[in-house]
Amino acid sequence: MKDMRLDHRQEQALYRTHFAQWNERLGAREPAWLRARREAAFARFEALGFPTPRQEEWRFTNIAPLLRVPFRLAAAWPERPLPDEWLAPYREWAAYHLVFVNGHFAGELPTDDRPPRLLARGIRALLHEEPEILEPHLVRFAEDASSAFTALNAAFLTDGAFVRIPRGAVLETPIHLLFLTLEEGMPAVTHPRNVILAEENSQATIIESYVSLGDGQYFTNAVTEIWVGENAILQHYKVQRESRAAFHIASVRIAEERTAMALDFSIALGAALARTDIVAILKGEGAECTLNGFYWARDQQLVDHHTVIEHAAPHGTSREFYKGILDNEARGVFDGTIIVRPGAQKTDARQVNKNLLLSTDALVNTNPRLQILADDVKCSHGATIGHLDEDALFYCRSRGLDAETAREMLTYAFASDILNTIAFGPLRRSVGEWVLTEWPEGEMLKELL
């Protein structure tokens, strides 16, 4: 049934009760500055209210189903060590893993070659031990966004990762922030908050994964703030593999200094409703930004990406490439804004969004927006929505491949160029496997990975 109400005040009341309880639980255990920021965030949430489809930004994504569920705050998983099967799929990755269960830091899988000055820890622990490290960064940068969900995340800030890549450090192995959700009893909500600072001339890869350990209903409301210092290189992957009954709302904010290079790659495979907002601000001259995305939705999944690239300084370059596959009755949304501020001359921005519909009931809304306020710039965008090419299907079948294999091979072919840009081999192969495992003839196609 469609929710016709114009606001969601009733649902907000529940969050007010939870907020009071949460403050009580934390008591005096948190620094005053954080308490003040959280309270300000909650006030902001109450002022903004949950978005409705009447708002342009949420036109195609109705969150009423999410608001109908009275989520409780997720509790920490008490047992140590964590069951091996939870981590087994990632052991082969040459990466440094920080593991969170139900939004709470739960352990790590270290590697041998961890740079000595690297700081990569759970925020809650760091708040107890060295809060002064967090004070300049926590609940600061993302807060100018007028998002009720970001405000809610700040208000309920529980845990997350704080990663600081020291000046000049080059990390050979990626840092993997693994957020596992284990559903128990009543549906729960987590508000993971990550802060990633890449100091000048540093280089690193961060993978942020959201994975379900079951198939139940829960809600992840994540915020990740990324700062890329002068001449630093940061690659950030967000891998969303939530349960097919879950809600996933995430916000990624990236700020880049002079000649910094940032990549954000959003991989969306799970959840009933997934919405990711990505904002990249090229603050410094000559900064480069790449936003890549791959989404695969089927049945009645809804996957929504809203991206904003803001060129605020001259000589910036941005490349955006999103590809999506939608099957059955799935819905996709891609909304990509490129803003070129006055004075951001010589900006070179390109945006491409390509969608493959495998069913006549699947639907995608793709919407490029350019706001160009400088006059010496190169900006382009292109969007396509198509079906599998009949000529290509016939070609494959005329070589003896059955119709289903031909369809899957061509679907894989569609996805291959974006997936092949995943530089970290184990992740690239894993993403391919996660997708192909669910295809009837996928086993055979795994040879292509």
Partner: protein, 259 residues
């Protein structure tokens, strides 16, 4: 001749989008033969090739097609391929992200399965592919590249012939494989076709030009005009067509209609 034709087409009429393209084709191709079907643009040559390979967009109005004595028309494209029909496409399709080697291994193994042969593993297939690639002078680097992706026109055609030599069809239909080739590439393509000639195998060359027939000698040449085979003859017919063009055929048809 008491042998059975490998391909027998009887009064085949085919329509697409309400328009009749093939208006009653009758043709018999016996094992061991090479037939050339020539004709001007729009005469129905490619339609015939596509219908034989199983393209589903065409509507069969009338007639039948027997392949090795069996009713061909109800068979799916993959069924036909597995039973030994191969179409070399006029416009081969690009498949990014899928290597030529992988694609062909999958194809060869489905065909081998049908023939009761064991499937080839990656190493065995690579050895076979290298051997066949040499035959059509296909650069080995093209094996690792995605299917036809970024291939030049000539490389695509050569790749079709390469696929054909790997799949070892019983009935090979080549749709304008000779078009757009320089003389070196044409010679290589001809070499691939000639290597495939065999008493158990039949080849149908659909072509606009006589040029290929300098290198591959057909047993029979047919002229397709406005959806009908209007003339059949030996290889000298191809030369006559080259010399006089297709206009001459048109006049002859109009003439015979008057008399």
């Amino acid at each position: 001749m008491n042998r059975r034709p490998l391909l027998e087409i009887r009064n085949l009429r085919v329509r697409i989008n309400g328009q009749e393209i093939l208006k009653g084709i009758t043709l018999a191709v016996y094992p061991g033969e090479v037939h050339s079907i020539m004709g001007p643009n729009g005469s129905g040559k490619s339609t015939l090739a596509q219908v034989l390979a199983g393209r589903e967009v065409y509507e069969i109005v009338e007639g039948e097609v027997l392949y090795d004595g069996e009713d061909l028309l109800p068979m799916s494209p993959e069924e036909r391929a597995r039973r030994g029909i191969f179409l070399a496409f006029q416009y081969p399709v690009e498949i990014p992200g899928v290597s030529n080697l992988y694609f062909l291994k999958a194809a060869v193994n489905t065909v081998r399965k049908q023939r009761g042969l064991p499937e080839l593993d990656a190493m065995e297939f690579l050895a076979l592919a290298r051997e066949k690639a040499k035959l059509v002078e296909l650069d080995e680097s093209l094996l690792q590249r995605a299917v036809n992706d970024g291939f030049s026109g000539g490389e695509k055609k050569r790749n079709e012939i390469f696929q054909m030599t790997l799949l070892e069809p019983r009935l090979a239909i080549l749709d304008e494989t000779d078009s757009g080739l320089d003389i070196d590439a044409l010679r290589v393509v001809a070499q691939g076709i000639n290597a495939l000639r065999h008493p158990d195998r039949a080849i149908v060359l659909i072509t606009h030009y006589q040029r290929l027939l300098n290198y591959v000698t057909p047993d029979v040449v047919h002229v397709l005009y406005d959806g009908r085979i209007v003339k059949s003859g030996g290889k000298e017919l191809a030369l006559e067509l080259e010399e006089k063009g297709y206009g001459w055929i048109a006049e002859e048809i109009i003439g015979s209609a008057r008399s």
